[in-house]
Structure formats: C-alpha cells, structure tokens
C-alpha cells in the first residue's frame, strides 16, 4: 500500500493507505481522531470539514494521498496546548450553537474559514449564505449564526 505523510494538528504523521482511502478515514481510523465526522456520502452536510493548508475542505471528498506533505488542522487541534479553547469554540458554547454536537466540528471549522474569507465583522446574511455547505438538523441555525458572529468578533481582539 502507498505511504502518506502529513502534519496533523502540528504533529508529523505517516501511514499506509489504500489509494481510495479518504482523508476522513485516515484521520478517524488510522489516527483515531474521531472528532471529524461523516454525516453523508455526497459532500452535502459538512460534518467532515477540516483545514488543509489553512483552507476549509471536506475530508470526505479528499483522498488521503492528495494530502501528502500538507498541513491539516482538525477540531482536536483548535484549542491551545493548555486546553484554552479557541474563541470560536468558546462562542459556540456561549451562544448554545450546538445541540447533539455531531455537525459541530464541521461547523466550527467552516466558521473559521468564513472569518478567513470575510474578516471579523460578519453580518447575518453573509454568515447564512456562506454556511451553505454545512447542515445542522438540531439548532435551526439561529444560534450557530449568532455564535459565528460573536466568535469572529472575539478573534479580532
């Protein structure tokens, strides 16, 4: 089987994978980083969003081998080493931006990419439009939208 090496959450990792192994399978099964979830099989739900070289991507639609040499950040890599939460994680908690928690890792990773693309002052319309690639069945998005706006603001400080 081909080998692949990448940096995940700051640590160099490598493993043998089948050519068809998806990044999300590599993360979940090889590295046991189960915070990244799979909610669908058509790249619609966004539960699997991670950052590849700083940009949000759906890890269910990315082959592990495509990530040779890449820098990957997953939900497990967001908090500081001492456990201090990332402001966006904190914002989801403060604003009750999650219920069952299954879509949450993807939501938070996508939220950070919305901030990267649009800056820290986000209006409701922008957030709702740009959250198109993530589905939540629990919250009706109301508090996710609030959380992203609040988290984006805090990140500017």
């Amino acid at each position: 089987m081909p080998a692949v090496s990448m940096t995940v959450n700051g640590k160099p990792v490598s493993g043998e994978v089948e050519a068809r192994t998806l990044l999300v399978q590599f993360l979940r099964e090889n590295l046991r980083l189960t915070g990244t979830h799979v909610g669908c099989d058509t790249s619609q739900c966004g539960a699997c969003v991670v950052h590849i070289n700083g940009i949000a991507a759906k890890s269910c639609t990315t082959l592990a081998l495509q990530c040779e040499g890449a820098t990957i950040t997953t939900i497990e890599g967001l908090a500081a080493a001492d456990g201090t939460l990332h402001p966006m994680q904190e914002a989801f908690r403060d604003n009750h931006g999650l219920q069952c928690g299954y879509c949450t890792p993807g939501m938070i990773m996508s939220a950070l990419d919305i901030v990267r693309r649009n800056g820290n002052e986000l209006d409701e319309h922008t957030i709702r439009e740009q959250l198109d690639g993530n589905i939540c069945r629990c919250t009706g998005y109301h508090n996710i939208v609030k959380a992203i706006a609040a988290g984006a603001k805090t990140m500017a400080r």
């Binding site: 989801f92 009750h96 069952c100 949450t104 709702r128």
Partner: protein, 785 residues
C-alpha cells in the same frame, strides 16, 4: 433563582466534549478486533428472492463471513415487532406482518436487507457485498397510499393492504353538528412524507464475550432499555441479563432512533457467529432507505361553524401510510397521537376521525418529531384559517371566539387539557410580530412587486407521555413512566442515573440544575449518567417531550427520598428529633436553633455510619424512584409566520417568525429556545423544502441529500421567541415540554402565510418555488386584486 438553578440560562456541561472533538458517538467506539458489516439491500420495491449466491463474496479478500436471511431464520432469530395494538372499528386486531431482520423469501421495499457481509475493513466488506448475487423475481409493487387498497397484496395477513380501519369519536353526533351548521369548510390535505435525517447516521456495534456469554450492543438509540427488552423478549437474541445496550453520545434522533432496527439485530447475531465484534455504520443513502420516515397522511377534513364562526364540529378521514412493515410504534402515531389532538386549542363539541392505515412498498413510517401532532395541528389550523377567510372573519378573532378558556377541559377525543391560556400566547405573539403594522409592510412589499402574507398557528400538543395505565388501555405494550436513581457520594457530590436519554437536549445540564437547586450543592458537583443498561435501572427513554415532565419528575421523587433519609442522618448527628430537622440551601438545621450540618457532612455520616446504629437506620444515601405521570401535559402556543412571495419565481422568503409558547416551568431558557428554533426549522423544512418522492414502482427518487432538500442556514430567518407560563398541574415541577412544539406549529403557520399572500388555498407541501408559482398562476385574478 441561583446562577445554576431552575430558570437559569446555564451553559451546557456537555458542550466541552463536543466543541473539542471528544464526543463518543457509536462509530467512534473502537473495539479490539472489530470487523465491519455492509448490508446487501434490495434494489427492488417488491420481489421474491429466488436464490442468493454468496460464494464469490466469501472468496473476496478480508471477508470474515457472509450471512443471509435463510441462516437467520434457521437460527430462529425472531422478527421485529410493533409494540402498540390498535383495533379496527369492527373490533379486529391490527394486521401485523412478519418483519425478519434479513428478508429470506420476499423483499418489500427498496433498501430491505437480504444479506450481510462482514470483513476486516469497510472497503473490503463493500467490495465483497457487490459480489453477492441475488436472483430476484420481480413482483408488482404499490407506493402510493391512496392506491394501496387496490394494489397488489403485500402481506398474507393484510388483505387490501389494510392494517386497521380505526375511528375515534361519535360519528352521529358530528353529523348532527354538520346538519345544524351555517358554514362548512372542506379541505383535502396531504401531509408530506419526510426523512428525519439526524446528522449522525444510525450505527450498531456488537460484541460477544464467550467467557461470560455476554453480548454488548453500542447503538444510536433514544431508548436503550426498550431496545434491550425488545431484542431479548421478542427477537430472542439473548436473555435480558446477558445483553447490555449502550447508547453513547447520539447525534440527533427526532424520533427516528426510538425504534428497534434490523441492523442492530443482525450485528448482535453476527458477532456471536463470527466471534468478533461487528460494527455497522449507515451511509447516508442507507439512512434514506432504512430510517423510519415520518408523516405521510392523506386527509379529507371538514369543519362545521355557526353564523358567528363558532365551531360546531370537525370530521376527518385519513389514510396513513405505514410503509412495508410496522415499525416499533408506528400504529400509535396516526391514531392516539393524531386524532386525539384534533380539538386543537378550541372548544369543539363534536369530533369524529377515521384512520385507515395501509401497507405500501416503501420504507416503514413511524414517529418523527411531533409524531401525529403536527399532522393534527396542520388539519385544525388550516381548517380554522380557511374558515375565517371564507366567512370574512379575522383569523385571530375566529381563534379567540373558539379558544378553550376554562380548565380542566375534556375534549370529545380523549384528552383532558389541564391548564393553559391561549389568549395570552396569541396576544403576546401578535404584539411581538407587530401584526398591527402588517398592512403597511404588505403595501411596501407590493411596491417591490412582492406578495406579503401572514399566517397563524395556534397549536396544542400532548406531551410528557404518558400515564401507563391510560396508554395501556389504548393498546400500548409498555408503560410510559420514567426512573431515576440519585446516588449521593460520601463526599457530597451526586450522580443521577436516569432512564431518559439525551441526544442534543442537554439533560446533563438541565437535570444537574434541578439537583443543584434542590440539594443546594454546586452545579459542578452533579453528574448525569444515562444510556447504559448496565449502569441505569430500566427506563423508557426520550421522545414525546417527556424527559422534563416525566424524567425530571422521577428525579424529584428520588430527591424527596434522599432528603427524607438525610434528615434522619442529620437528626442523629445533631442529636435532635427527626421532625425538627429543616433542610434549606444545602443545610440541615434544628428548627429554632443555630445547630446545623452541611449537606456534605450529612452525606459523609450516612456512609461512615458512626452516629447511628444499623438496626435503626441503613447506612448509605442512595434512592431510586419510578415516576408515572397522572396525565399528559399540554404545551401550547402561537406561532406567526410572515412571508414575502416573489411573483415572478414563486420563491417564498420567511421575513418574520414569532413564536410564543407556553411550556410551563422552564428549567433552562437558553436550551428551551434552542429546542424551539430547531423545531421550527424542521417544520419550515416540511412546509417549504422537504418531501419524499417515490415513483409508482416504489423507487425512492429523493434518495440522497442531493435530491432531498434539507433546510440550510440561508433558508431560514432568525426567530423571535417568547414564552407565557401556566404550570402543568400534572407533575411536581409544572413542566409541559418543549421538544416538538416548533415542528408541530410551523407547517400550518407557513402555509397559512403563503396562501394569505397568494390568495389561493390550493397549495401542497413542500411549497417549493415551482409549487407556489403554479398556484399563483391559477390564483391570478385574486392575487392581482
């Protein structure tokens, strides 16, 4: 109110693990030596299985086993059952067809499983599954419930594909009411079929320990205890004491994870056969063809009114599609959870409802958020709204004229409403929604070429299910009480073991708020344990907005016992009479003195047992309770939806949403508001976006998230949410429940708003742009006026 007690918007305990990726959902549980299962499923809606050839699959790399329905039958593994007996009008019992976990003779819907392939990896199992050759003989199928009675007979036990023909109410009395009416409103309604689509796909992991003859199942369940009971008592996989069911973190349920599913049974059976742990996780396309769907009613409904718009009677005739097999609670949804709510918030003297439940070659249909109550609310709220329009009465006024104002109120359809103030929620919602300013906003929309409409939904639901004796008399196979165990540790911290199960509702937080307030101990010192049959005594799980009203009431009862026992311990410690001990703010005090002992000291003394003799008082401080409610609870409220419709495209935009709900006592307003938001989103999804399409041959056309439209952030507005409060007299905390309200209220509010905007009542759900545009073309004269 303390910062973490009842009524406080406390941040959730469970959030830390979810926002850091540390949640443990079933697919995240990894057992040593585990294998992966992939099911071979029927691509046909109905067919005879002539032969299954597994030889090629067995020869594939990594394959551990390939098992078929014939082997399952040979091992005498029992089928799945429906646990609620409904009798037809003629007294005959419902026609429950056999439902084997793997089909051996015939398949009855697309997705029906015929074999399972178990391999070292999921990829290997998937590859091998493609090599299983199934020789089918195609049979004619029926997917449309309206045609079911004349379609090919699916099951031998059910002539005309009819499961039951049930009725509720007094048909003759209703006929008299209609004969005396000055106005009759008639509607034909389709309550569209929905896919629940919890974002966590269903999963099951089974492990067999031959040393102890113990089976363990991790599964995505809303009620692991009931799963264990059914799997042992009816399916017969293992005796109850040799089966442990663990439902760890569960990623949303909405009803779809209440039921016992074939895959759980097959994984348990297979784990023993292959002597390895077996894990199955659904792919989303499998969710579409295996998770029980929701709704799917066809109804003709009529409302009789006098000249003042006072309702005299209501009658409805409904065809309910239960799919290819009867799912766990499917029979109760279109009967006792539907027709019993047809009185809405109104004083309706006579109601009669007939329900014909039918089999079709489609995925089984069962409870989905609201379960029967959204269907009832849609019937009632559409009838009332249309009646108001036909009679030229303001829709708010017609509601006020008919509201029930005195409680308790016995409806003609079983339910006895115990408390409510429907005028209060309507008035507050109208103020919040600025109904007074609507005409001005409508003119403004018209200037931009858009039609603006306003729709009300004053809904009621029956929650906190339910008194066991009452549901038993209606056919339920189980009691619907709840259990709790409060374990006070020697250091004064507390674990609560509850039979409720959280899958997004935040029980770890709200239940801890109750304990913190009641025992006067820090919120941080309370842990909630649920979802493991080895830890928690039997419980009934979470659905029907029952965990507050029933689950927390059980905790209250156990806390009462803890307090009573702790007072005995404190009396010995403080050398006072038990009757003189008062408990307040975490302190036991001898009345009228300054002698006191802190809760933690009393807990420690209960365990060290130095101050009392074991003959007088048992050591320890742990109490259990089983709480059976005295009535359903009746959450109610008013949702007002305001829409703008683009006349060129037919696209509807929700521009304002106001929800004012009466949930009785609110434990955590932040969590309750979140439940309302989510419910509204699902209701709006039903009204505007979601709808299952089967073709006439039973092929599922909307079989993926590419074809079935889930609400996304840009489909929804932010919601204005408020509450009114009348406490439920039927449980100690006065809770009514909030989990389903939004999904129940929303569809009628949306459709009432769009029909108001376009001036036509001929609108089906989902009201997509195409549907609305088409309705607009038909309604042009009135819309233009």
């Amino acid at each position: 109110m303390s910062a973490t007690g009842i009524g406080a918007a406390v941040r959730r305990k469970e959030d830390i693990r979810f926002i850091t990726g540390k949640g443990q959902y079933t697919d995240d549980v990894i057992r040593p030596g585990e294998t992966r299962a992939v099911f071979v499923r029927s691509p046909h809606a109905r067919a005879k299985i002539k032969r299954i050839d597994t030889a090629a699959a067995k020869a594939m790399p990594g394959v551990v086993g390939v098992l078929t329905g014939a082997e399952l039958a040979a091992d005498k593994v029992g089928g799945l059952i429906c646990g609620w007996m409904i009798h037809s009008k003629d007294g005959s019992p419902m026609k429950m067809a056999p439902h084997p976990a793997l089909a051996a003779e015939t398949v009855n819907h697309v997705g029906d499983a015929v074999a399972v392939v178990i391999a070292e990896t999921q990829a290997q199992a998937r590859d091998a599954a493609e090599k299983v050759k199934v020789d089918y003989e195609l049979l004619p199928a029926v997917s449309d419930p309206a045609k079911a009675k004349n379609g090919p007979q699916i099951h031998g036990v059910a002539p005309k594909n009819t499961i039951y023909e049930w009725s509720l109410g007094d048909a003759k009395a209703v006929d008299s009411a209609f004969a005396a009416a000055k106005h009759v409103t008639k509607l034909d309604i389709v309550n569209n079929r929905l896919v629940p689509n919890a974002i966590e796909p269903r999963a099951a992991l089974a492990e067999y320990d031959s040393g102890t003859d113990q089976l363990t199942l991790w599964n995505t369940s809303q009620n692991p205890h009931v799963a264990r009971l059914v799997i042992s008592a009816f399916v017969g996989i293992a005796p109850e004491h040799k089966l442990r069911v663990i439902a760890p973190d569960v990623g949303g349920g909405f009803g779809s994870k209440i039921f016992i599913y074939p895959e759980e049974v097959v994984c348990l059976w297979a784990a023993r056969k292959v002597k390895r742990p077996v894990k199955w996780t659904a792919e989303r396309h499998e969710s579409f063809v295996t998770d029980a769907h929701g709704r799917d009613h066809i109804t003709h409904a009529e409302l009789a009114l006098d000249e003042h718009g006072k309702i005299l009677g209501l009658r409805a005739k409904t065809i309910a599609n239960l799919g290819a097999y009867m799912s766990t609670f499917s029979s109760s949804v279109p009967t006792y959870l539907y027709a019993t709510l047809l009185s809405g918030q109104y004083d309706i003297p006579q109601i009669y409802c007939e329900v014909d439940a039918v089999y079709t070659n489609t995925v089984p249909v069962d409870a989905y958020r609201g379960a029967g109550r959204p269907e009832a609310t849609f019937v009632v709220e559409r009838l009332v709204e249309v009646a108001a329009r036909e009679m030229g009465i303001d829709p708010a006024d017609i509601r006020k004229r008919n509201f029930i104002k005195a409680f308790p109120h016995q409806t003609p359809v079983i339910m006895a409403y115990d408390a409510g103030d429907y005028n209060a929620s309507l008035k507050k919602a109208m103020d919040l929604a600025d109904v007074k300013g609507f005409n001005k906003r409508k003119r403004e929309s018209a200037r931009h070429g858009k039609l603006r409409g306003l729709g009300y939904s004053t809904y009621i639901e029956a929650c906190g299910i339910a008194p066991s004796q009452a549901v038993g008399s209606l056919g339920a196979g189980v009691g619907l009480w709840e259990s709790a165990e409060v374990r006070v540790n020697p250091t004064g911290s507390v674990e609560v073991l509850t039979g409720s199960h959280a899958h997004g509702q935040g029980h770890e937080t709200t239940f801890a708020q109750l304990v913190s307030e009641r025992l006067g101990i820090p919120f941080e010192n309370v842990s909630i344990v649920h979802g493991d049959t080895d830890k928690v005594q039997f419980g009934m799980g979470t659905y029907g907005s029952r965990s507050g009203a029933v689950g927390m009431s059980a905790i209250v009862k156990a806390l009462d016992k803890v307090e009573a026992k702790a007072k005995k311990v404190a009396a010995h410690m403080l050398e006072a009479a038990e009757g003189d001990i008062e408990f307040k703010d975490g302190k036991f005090t001898v009345a009228g003195t300054d002698k006191s002992a802190a809760f933690g000291d009393v807990a420690l003394n209960a365990y060290i047992a130095h101050k009392f003799s074991g003959q007088e008082l048992e050591p320890g401080l742990k109490e259990t309770s089983f709480y059976d409610p005295t009535n359903f609870t009746f959450p109610a409220g008013c949702h007002i939806c305001e829409v703008e419709v683009d006349t060129e495209t037919g696209k509807t935009e929700i521009v304002n949403w106001t929800a004012v709900d009466d949930f009785g006592t609110v434990i955590n307003p932040m969590i309750v508001e979140g439940q309302v938001h989510g419910g509204i989103a699902q209701g709006v999804g039903q009204a505007l976006l979601e709808g299952v399409v089967y073709d006439k041959d039973g092929q599922l056309v909307t079989g993926s998230l590419m074809d079935y439209t889930m609400p996304r952030a840009h489909d929804l507005p932010s919601f204005k949410v408020g509450t009114t409060e009348t406490k439920s007299p039927s449980n100690p905390l006065g809770i009514k429940g909030c989990g389903e309200a939004g999904a129940i209220a929303a569809p009628a509010a949306v459709i009432n708003a769009i029909t108001d905007a376009i001036g036509s009542e001929a609108l089906t759900m989902p009201a997509t742009a195409n549907t609305v545009w088409t309705a607009l073309q038909r309604a042009k004269p009135r819309a233009a006026a």
